[in-house]
C-alpha cells in the first residue's frame, strides 16, 4: 500500500509491504515492527532495531503523532487523491489577510490596535489574561490592521479570531 504523508509542508511517500513490514520513505528502506502497547493510542515501534514509543491519535481526518515529546499533525492521502489535491489547491497569496487567533482561553485586558493602523512585527496587539498571567499577543509580521474583533473585558475562546492583519 502506498501513502502520501504530509507533515508541516513536507511530503513523504511511504510504501508499506504488509507481509514483512518493510516500509520505504522517499526511497529509503526501513524494517519495522509496530505494536499497540495499551490498546489505545500508545504504540511501540522498532525501526531497524531502534525502539521508539509513539502516540498516534486520529484527529480531524488525519493523525496527530507524538514521538520523543515532539508532536506532528499528519495528513495521509493515497497518491491519486493527493495529485488531485495538488492541482486544485489555491496558490497562497503572500500578504493575504492574516487572522490573529487567541492561543488560549482568557480575558482580553487590552487591545492596542485600531483598524487601518500600520503595525510592526513583534508589536503588542492584544493583552490576554489567563492563568494569572498577562500574555502579550504580538504581530507575527509587519502589516496593517484590517478588523478588530475583540474588545477589552471580553472572554475569548482558544482559536477565536481577535483581529485580522492585511
Amino acid at each position: 500500500m502506498k501513502f502520501l504523508v504530509e507533515i508541516e509542508g513536507r511530503s513523504f511517500e511511504v510504501e508499506v509491504q504488509n507481509t514483512f513490514v518493510r516500509a520505504s520513505v522517499d526511497g529509503e528502506h526501513y524494517s519495522i515492527d509496530m505494536r499497540s502497547v495499551d490498546g489505545h493510542c500508545l504504540y511501540s515501534l522498532i525501526v531497524d532495531n531502534c525502539p521508539y514509543d509513539a502516540f498516534v491519535e486520529e484527529k480531524d481526518g488525519g493523525y496527530s503523532v507524538t514521538i520523543q515529546g515532539e508532536q506532528f499533525e499528519v495528513e495521509i492521502k493515497d497518491p491519486k487523491s493527493a495529485r488531485l489535491a495538488m492541482m486544485t489547491r489555491k496558490p497562497e497569496v503572500p500578504g493575504a489577510e492574516l487572522p490573529i487567533k487567541s492561543p488560549l482561553p482568557g480575558l482580553v485586558v487590552a487591545v492596542e490596535a485600531e483598524p487601518g493602523r500600520a503595525v510592526k512585527k513583534g508589536q503588542v496587539l492584544v493583552v490576554l489574561e489567563a492563568m494569572k498571567m498577562e500574555n502579550d499577543l504580538s504581530a507575527p509580521r509587519d502589516g496593517i490592521v484590517r478588523e478588530v474583533k475583540a474588545a477589552v473585558g471580553e472572554k475569548v475562546e482558544k482559536g477565536q479570531v481577535l483581529l485580522t492583519l492585511e
Binding site: V16, H40, D48, G62, E70, P103, L104, P105
Partner: protein, 501 residues
C-alpha cells in the same frame, strides 16, 4: 508536635507538605476550590474540605474560610506552602489570634520582607549591596521616567509586594515605560492586591543565586548553601541547581555568613531564602527575602540530605535546630526542571487541556514532585505548574545525564508542557559549560534549531502503519480499543532475526 496540619495550598506543593506530614505521623487537612475537587492533593490527604468557588479570592486566598476549616477539622497549625497566602502577614496574625500555629515567620518579619521597598532599605542597613534604583514606591509615571533617565535604560519595574515574577517588567527604553507600568500595576493588583511599583537598574548578564537558611526560635541559624536559578522566563524560574557552577566552598561561606547576619537583623525564624543577583564581577546584589518554602527547595534537600519541610514544621513547633553549621555538607549535585502546562514553542503561553496518558520517570537519583494524573483538566485559574523533576548525582555532568534520561522517560499527553525546553537545556552548550545568566532563554532557546526533522520520518512511518491497518481515517474517528497483544503487524525484523540463528 502538632495534632493536625491544615495545608492552605494546592498542587504539587500541597502534596509535598502532606507527604511530609504523613511521614511524621501528623494527619493533614487539604482544602480545595470547586475547580480542584479531583486534584491529587485532595485525594491524598487525610481530610479534605471545600473552600469555595474556583476564583482564588473566594477560596485559596480567603482567610475567613481557612479559619472555618481549621475550626471544623481541629487543625492546630497551618502550612501556607508558596504563593497564595504564604507571605501574607494577615494570615499569620489571624492564626495567632485563633491560637493556631502559622508555619512560617512572624507577621512582623513577613511585613518587613513582603514590602520589597522596605526590605531593600532594611537590607542596605544590614550591610547587603542593593541594586541602584528607587528606595521608595513610585509616586507616578513622571518619577519613573526621571529615575530611569538617571539610572540609564534598561531598567526593571517591580511590584513592592511582588514575588514569582508577577508585576515585573523590563523597560528597554522610554517608549516602553507607559504600557509596562500599566501591565505591571494590573498584575500586581491582581496577584497581591497592592499595585505599588519601584524601579531598579537592570543588571546585565546577571546570575540569579539564592541562599537557603533555617532559623529556630532559640536564636540558632544555619545556611544550607546556595541555589542557582538563572534559567527563567518572565522572571519565573524554570531550571534550578545546587550548588551553583560559579560558587566554591569559600564563596558559599562568605555569602552564607552575610545572609545569616542580615536574617538576624530582622529577627528571622523558620525556613527562608535570600535572593541575589550576581553580576559579572562577582558582586551579590540583594533582591528579596522569600519568607517561605521555595518551589526549588528540593535541590538543596538533595545535596544536604535535610528535609526542609519537616524542619520547617519542627521549627514552627518550637523545636531547636537539630544540627549546627559544621554538620551541613553540600554533597554531589542536584538539578530541578519545572514542568509547566505551557507551550515553549509559543512564548511559554499557558496551555490548558486534559491529561489522557502519562508516565513519570523514576529509578536511581530521580525524584518527581507531581500534581499530574490521568484525567486532570488543568484549571485556568492558577499557576500552571504541573510537576518538578529533581535529580541528584555525584557530579554536575552525571546529574545532567540523569536529567536527560529522566526527561526521555517522562511523557504527558493532552497538554503542552515545558519538557521539550528542558530537553533542549540539557543538551545546550552554554548550560553544559555552566556559563550562563538570566538572559539564557532569550538567547539560547530563541536560537534553537529543531531536532524535529529527524523525528518527522518516524512520525510519517507511524501514521502510515496505523493507516495501513485500517484504511484511510474518517474525520474525527477515535482509534478502536484493540488488545495490546493482538497486533496485526508482522515483524520483518523478527523473522530476519530468527533466520540468523
Amino acid at each position: 508536635m502538632f495534632r493536625k496540619i491544615l495545608i492552605a495550598n494546592r498542587g504539587e506543593v500541597a502534596i509535598r507538605i502532606l507527604r511530609a506530614c504523613r511521614e511524621m505521623g501528623i494527619p493533614s487537612v487539604a482544602v480545595y476550590s470547586e475547580a480542584d475537587r479531583n486534584a491529587l492533593h485532595v485525594r491524598l490527604a487525610d481530610q479534605a474540605f471545600l473552600l469555595g468557588p474556583a476564583s482564588p479570592l473566594e477560596s485559596y486566598l480567603s482567610i475567613p474560610r481557612l479559619m472555618v476549616v481549621a475550626r471544623l477539622s481541629g487543625a492546630d497549625a497551618i502550612h501556607p506552602g508558596y504563593g497564595f497566602l504564604s507571605e501574607n502577614p494577615n494570615l499569620a496574625r489571624t492564626c495567632q489570634e485563633e491560637g493556631i500555629t502559622f508555619i512560617g515567620p512572624t507577621a512582623e518579619v513577613l511585613e518587613k520582607a513582603g514590602n520589597k521597598v522596605e526590605a531593600r532599605r532594611l537590607m542596605k542597613e544590614a550591610g547587603l549591596l542593593i541594586i541602584p534604583g528607587t528606595l521608595d514606591g513610585l509616586a507616578g509615571e513622571d518619577e519613573a521616567f526621571q529615575v530611569a533617565g538617571e539610572l540609564g535604560y534598561p531598567v526593571l519595574l517591580k511590584a513592592a509586594a511582588g514575588g514569582g515574577g508577577k508585576g515585573m517588567r523590563i523597560v528597554h527604553d522610554a517608549s516602553e515605560m507607559r504600557p509596562a507600568i500599566r501591565t505591571a500595576r494590573n498584575e500586581a493588583e491582581m496577584a497581591f492586591g497592592d499595585s505599588t511599583l519601584y524601579v531598579e537598574k537592570l543588571i546585565s548578564r546577571a546570575r540569579h543565586i539564592e541562599m537557603q537558611i533555617l532559623a529556630d526560635a532559640q536564636g540558632n541559624m544555619v545556611y544550607l548553601g546556595e541555589r542557582e536559578c538563572s534559567i527563567q522566563r518572565r522572571h519565573q524560574k524554570l531550571v534550578e541547581e545546587a550548588p551553583s557552577p560559579v560558587m566554591g566552598p569559600e564563596d558559599r561561606r562568605t555569602l552564607g555568613e552575610t545572609v545569616l547576619r542580615a536574617a538576624r537583623a530582622i529577627g528571622y525564624v523558620g525556613a527562608g531564602t535570600f535572593e541575589f543577583l550576581r553580576d559579572q564581577e562577582g558582586h551579590f546584589y540583594f533582591l528579596e527575602v522569600n519568607p517561605r518554602l521555595q518551589v526549588e527547595h528540593p535541590v538543596t534537600e538533595m545535596v544536604t540530605g535535610i528535609d526542609i519541610v519537616k524542619e520547617q514544621i519542627r521549627l514552627a513547633a518550637g523545636e531547636p535546630l537539630r544540627f549546627k553549621q559544621e554538620d551541613i555538607q553540600v554533597k554531589g549535585w542536584a538539578i530541578e526542571c519545572r514542568l509547566y502546562a505551557e507551550d515553549p514553542e509559543n512564548i511559554f503561553m499557558p496551555s490548558p487541556g486534559t491529561i489522557w496518558a502519562m508516565v513519570e520517570p523514576s529509578g536511581p537519583g530521580v525524584r518527581v514532585e507531581s500534581s499530574a494524573f490521568v484525567g486532570l483538566s488543568i484549571p485556568t485559574y492558577y499557576d500552571p505548574l504541573l510537576s518538578k523533576v529533581v535529580v541528584w548525582a555525584e557530579t554536575r555532568e552525571e546529574a545532567i545525564n540523569r536529567m536527560r534520561r529522566a526527561l526521555q522517560e517522562y511523557y504527558i499527553m493532552g497538554v503542552n508542557t515545558t519538557a521539550p525546553f528542558h530537553r533542549f537545556v540539557m543538551e545546550d552548550a552554554a548550560f553544559l559549560s555552566g556559563d550562563f545568566d538570566t538572559g539564557f532563554i532569550y538567547r539560547e532557546w530563541g536560537e534553537k534549531t529543531h531536532r524535529r526533522e529527524r523525528i518527522k520520518v518516524l512520525a510519517a512511518l507511524a501514521a502510515a502503519l496505523v493507516a495501513s491497518q485500517k484504511g484511510l481515517p474518517s474525520t474525527g474517528a477515535r482509534l478502536r480499543l484493540q488488545a495490546a497483544q493482538e497486533s496485526g503487524w508482522k515483524s520483518h525484523g523478527r523473522r530476519a532475526m530468527l533466520r540468523a540463528y
